[in-house]
């Protein structure tokens, strides 16, 4: 007992010191301004009203000076307001909920794997080990074509899946936001691995009869971080086009990409990737200021493709039998860690409070000048954000980020539960996680959210949102029927 108490009391003292320091540094301006204002007030009170009037008269204002000053003030204000970047609001978003008939329990997955890969028992065992440790649950969904024995990934089936996912999400979004198809000015669809002609964005234009002068874009091949790339693109477009709506659709179509061979490094995506999609409505209209859920604050993109190892770490190729699949290299986590560090270095100064930045600066100077052996200071991002949405790429990714950013279990709960309930839905997983936080009723006005996504290339992209209004528990959404069962404890290994 005695050895625990001193640690506890010393850590409590340290905590108060830290709190005091943070409060002081973050509100330093207030601390300077208050004495100055008190001083002026005391001076005014001392001088009295007649003295004040005398000082005023002695300034000798004439008409020209007053006019010029006021014109100058108006001119500066106009320039400021015109050059300020437009605020981008996220009006609302909708996530696709797959029907329960598409559910894939572990035992079905393993059974199909055994039936299809009957000549490769080692590959089947590998898949079983991955599945046991994956962090997925029994309710993740695969598209119908993958339920067949053997799977039949035809183009028709892929288009069918795309239509089902994208149109459901967009219908749901239109119902929530009461927007008409004719109002959409910008359309961006991102789907990494399925890119038919005509594109998926053309498919959306055709289905909803969007305007002929719509600005539509289709991003493919950009991996799981393409969702945030689309948001970045939408933001830039909304700066150029005033008074517009942008519809962003993020999805990943599983049907054509189910690896049918037996190479182990390429079987991993089969175990983790699942059906999902999201549709997001962004706006730069002033009238959406009151009804929008979030405001976009920053988007930071980091690309490590210049490094050969990072470029090849998620690589689509043919296996020795000629079957196409995505090869994940063994140093994926290391590269992800480095990409994250790069991204944090850029985003840190934008979002961290002054106290953390100062500490980081001092430690950096200290390491460079005094002693390189000092531990590098990892800024405490928990002070900059209330909620974290880490792309649910796999259990290892979430564990790694939790360790690196020193996050608590509650911060990563949204990511872990999304991985459990929906699997890795690629670019749309961030939106399922956001939906989880809202469904739990944790989203309050003024909360800041950090969305981090990794993708092939190797890219690490972040988006920072600020909550615009307190969001009540939603009555619809993908979590509606199961949120009461969450959070669930996910064991390290699920025995199959």
């Amino acid at each position: 007992m005695p050895q625990i108490l001193p640690n506890f009391s010393s850590s409590v003292k340290l905590k108060y010191v830290k709190l005091g320091y943070q409060y002081l540094v973050n509100h330093i301006l207030t601390f300077f301004l208050i004495p100055v204002m008190v001083g002026i007030l005391v001076e005014i009170l001392r001088l009295g009203p007649e003295e004040m009037l005398n000082i005023w008269r002695s300034l000798h204002f004439d008409l020209v000076q007053i006019l010029c000053s006021s014109f100058l003030i108006i001119f500066i204000a106009t320039v400021y307001f015109m050059s300020k970047p437009r605020s981008i609001y996220l009006v609302d978003y909708a996530c696709y909920k797959a029907p329960p008939t598409c559910r894939v329990p572990f035992s079905t997955f393993m059974e199909h794997s055994r039936l299809i890969l009957k000549d490769n028992p080692k590959s089947v065992d590998f898949q079983m080990r991955i599945l046991e440790r994956s962090g997925l649950g029994e309710e993740t969904c695969l598209p119908p074509a993958i339920h067949y024995i053997p799977p039949t990934p035809t183009m028709e089936a892929a288009r069918g899946e795309a239509e089902e996912v994208i149109f459901s999400a967009i219908d749901s979004l239109m119902k929530k936001t009461r927007i008409k198809p004719k109002d959409i000015d910008i359309l961006i669809v991102n789907c990494s691995l399925f890119s038919p002609t005509p594109s998926l964005s053309a498919m959306v234009v055709n289905k909803y009869k969007l305007r002929s002068n719509i600005k539509s874009y289709n991003l493919s091949g950009m991996g799981c971080s393409a969702g945030l790339i689309s948001i970045d693109l939408a933001r830039d477009l909304l700066q150029v086009h005033p008074n517009s709506y942008a519809l962003v659709v993020s999805t990943e179509i599983i049907t054509p990409n189910y690896y049918q061979g037996s190479e182990r490094a390429m079987l991993l995506p089969n175990c983790l990737f699942r059906m999902g999609g999201a549709a997001i409505l962004l706006s730069n209209k002033r009238r959406d200021r009151s009804r929008a859920k979030y405001r976009l604050v920053h988007v930071v993109r980091t690309h490590k493709g210049a490094d050969d190892k990072a470029y090849k770490c998620v690589y689509e190729q043919e296996d020795p039998q000629g079957k196409v699949g995505i090869n994940l290299s063994k140093d994926l986590m290391v590269i992800a860690g480095e990409a994250l560090k790069s991204n944090i270095t850029t985003i840190g100064p934008l979002v961290l409070p002054a106290s953390e930045q100062l500490l980081f600066l001092f430690t950096l100077i200290g390491r460079k000048i005094f002693n390189p052996k000092w531990k590098p200071y990892i800024p405490d991002f928990k002070q900059a954000f209330e909620h974290f949405c880490i792309h649910a790429g796999g259990r290892a990714v979430i564990d790694e980020l939790q360790k690196n950013l020193q996050l608590s279990a509650e911060h990563v709960e949204a990511s872990r539960m999304t991985l459990h309930r929906f699997g890795n839905t690629s670019s749309s997983s961030l939106w399922y996680e956001l939906g989880y936080i809202e469904a739990k009723g944790r989203m309050k006005k003024g909360d800041r959210i950090w969305q981090i996504a990794f993708g092939s290339g190797f890219k690490c992209n972040s988006a920072v949102w600020k909550c615009n209004r307190t969001i009540g528990t939603p009555t619809d959404g993908p979590w509606q029927d199961c949120i009461d069962r969450y959070p669930v404890h996910i064991p390290e290994i699920v025995k199959l």
């Binding site: 559910r103 079905t108 055994r114 067949y148």
Partner: protein, 449 residues
């Protein structure tokens, strides 16, 4: 001729996940039936115009909902440390095959034989590692010009014909109305109630001996190819048959009358000397044991009927023999058998359908109330208890449409081909003028079903 073409084969999953760690043990009666499997085909007409594949999709969604209540079907076979089969409810799903057929269902039913009918079911023999082997297979065949056939195949380890019919009925209820009228119950066979034992009770030795013999017999020889025909006897004819076997009509059931009739005729056709041919009857014991209609599992018991010394045309004596055995198969007798089976803990697998002529009473099986769409009762329901390796099979089934209390019956007869020919020409059978629903391909069916 490729009349039936395969569209796809998939696994259907239940909509609700199964709680992990659940097991459904198999009873002593279940475990005896390991070598056998069932095929059942339900035929329906189309009531509304539909796109191809639309009805199959609806059925698939309904079956996924239904499977949530049947974790035993989506589970897999697993051997306990004692070496007995049990089902581990691991939520693996059920296989479903979809197919298309040319023509209409009515036309199909007119030109049917055993091989053709078995194209409408899908079956896979038990794998060497049964943990990846689905115990139930459903095949849905849409007819291009109208109609649909639903074929169910399953291992007899888990279900007997009444139980499989209950499954299809549950599926139909789910498709039509979204909920099951008789939800299934999974519980062991009832044991003997403690206070109820009659101290003077003699164990039912004949029944136990019959099972003992069946278990110890060597494997039967698979030689002659068997064919199947289906005959329909209308109400008046069955009543006439009953009157033939007993002056007082009410003391005989249609089963006893028809079973006696066919016992006598088949013996004649086989040329058995010194009595009637060896026959066993198979009865549904659910009512006798007081089980609920939703009971899932095997509950049909076989017993030998004694045909020694009965001459060729002595229908009355044959019927009496059958009635005597039916009477003796009461709750106590069945309990004796079950207890004996549990104690004996055998490891050998009997061929329960493999030797004698088997006469199965499926009268009470409620197949014609499985309605998937409004006002569409099944046109016909066919049952096959496989493998057909014994002397023959007689299945006595309820009539297709109309009232339940009628005495009309449909009889499925499986015998070697030459014996079937002789049976159809037999005077005794002709006396009751059956309608041939499914004959030998050489003969054209005279009237429609």
């Amino acid at each position: 001729m490729a009349e039936v073409s395969l569209t796809c084969k998939r696994t259907v999953i239940s909509t609700k996940p199964v709680q992990p760690g659940k097991f459904c043990p198999l009873s002593a009666l279940d475990r005896l039936m390991e070598r056998n499997y069932l095929h059942i085909v339900f035929y329906y007409q189309s009531t509304v115009e539909r796109n191809p594949g639309e009805l199959t999709k609806k059925l698939r969604e309904a079956v996924a909902e239904m499977l949530s209540a049947f974790p035993i079907i989506t589970g897999r076979l697993f051997k306990t440390p004692e070496g007995h089969w049990t089902i581990k409810c691991n939520d693996a799903g059920m296989r479903m095959v979809e197919a298309r057929a040319k023509g209409s269902v009515e036309k199909w039913l007119q030109n049917l034989d055993r091989e053709k009918e078995l194209q409408l079911v899908h079956w896979e023999e038990m794998f060497h590692k049964p943990y990846f082997w689905s115990t139930f297979y459903v095949k849905v065949t849409e007819f291009e010009e109208g109609g649909i056939a639903i074929g169910l195949s399953c291992t007899h380890l888990l279900s007997d014909p009444p139980c499989a019919t209950m499954l299809i009925k549950a599926w139909a209820d789910m498709t039509l109305g979204g909920k099951m009228i008789t939800p299934p119950l999974f519980h062991p066979l009832p044991g003997r109630r403690p206070g109820n034992t009659n101290t003077n009770h003699e164990p039912y030795v004949e029944l136990i001996d019959y099972y003992k013999l069946s278990i110890e017999k060597p494997a039967p020889v698979f030689n002659t190819k068997q064919v199947t025909i289906i005959l329909a006897f209308d109400d008046e004819m069955v009543r006439r048959c009953i009157t033939r076997i007993a002056p007082v009509e009410s003391s005989r059931t249609p089963f006893e009358a028809l079973a006696a009739l066919f016992w006598v005729v088949v013996s004649k056709v086989k040329g058995t000397k010194g009595g009637l041919t060896n026959m066993s009857i198979c009865l549904d014991m659910r009512n006798v044991l007081g089980l609920d209609r939703g009971f899932f599992g095997n509950c049909m018991v076989y017993n030998k009927v004694n045909g020694d010394g009965i001459e060729g045309n002595e229908l009355c004596k044959a019927a009496n023999g059958i009635k005597e055995v039916v009477r003796k198969m009461d709750a106590d007798g069945i309990m004796d058998l079950i207890e004996w089976l549990k104690e004996r803990n055998y490891q050998d697998l009997p061929w329960m359908n493999g030797y004698d002529l088997i006469c199965v009473n499926l009268e009470a099986v409620d197949s014609y109330s499985a309605i998937f769409e409004d006002n569409a009762r099944p046109l016909r329901v066919s049952y096959y208890i496989e493998p057909a390796v014994g002397e023959g099979q007689i299945l006595i089934m309820p009539p297709p449409a109309g009232s339940r209390n009628t005495f009309s019956r449909v009889v499925t007869i499986t015998l070697p081909e030459d014996e079937v020919n002789k049976l159809l020409e037999d005077a005794l059978i002709q006396e009751f003028s059956p309608t041939i629903l499914m004959g030998l391909n050489k003969m054209h069916s005279s009237t429609s079903s």
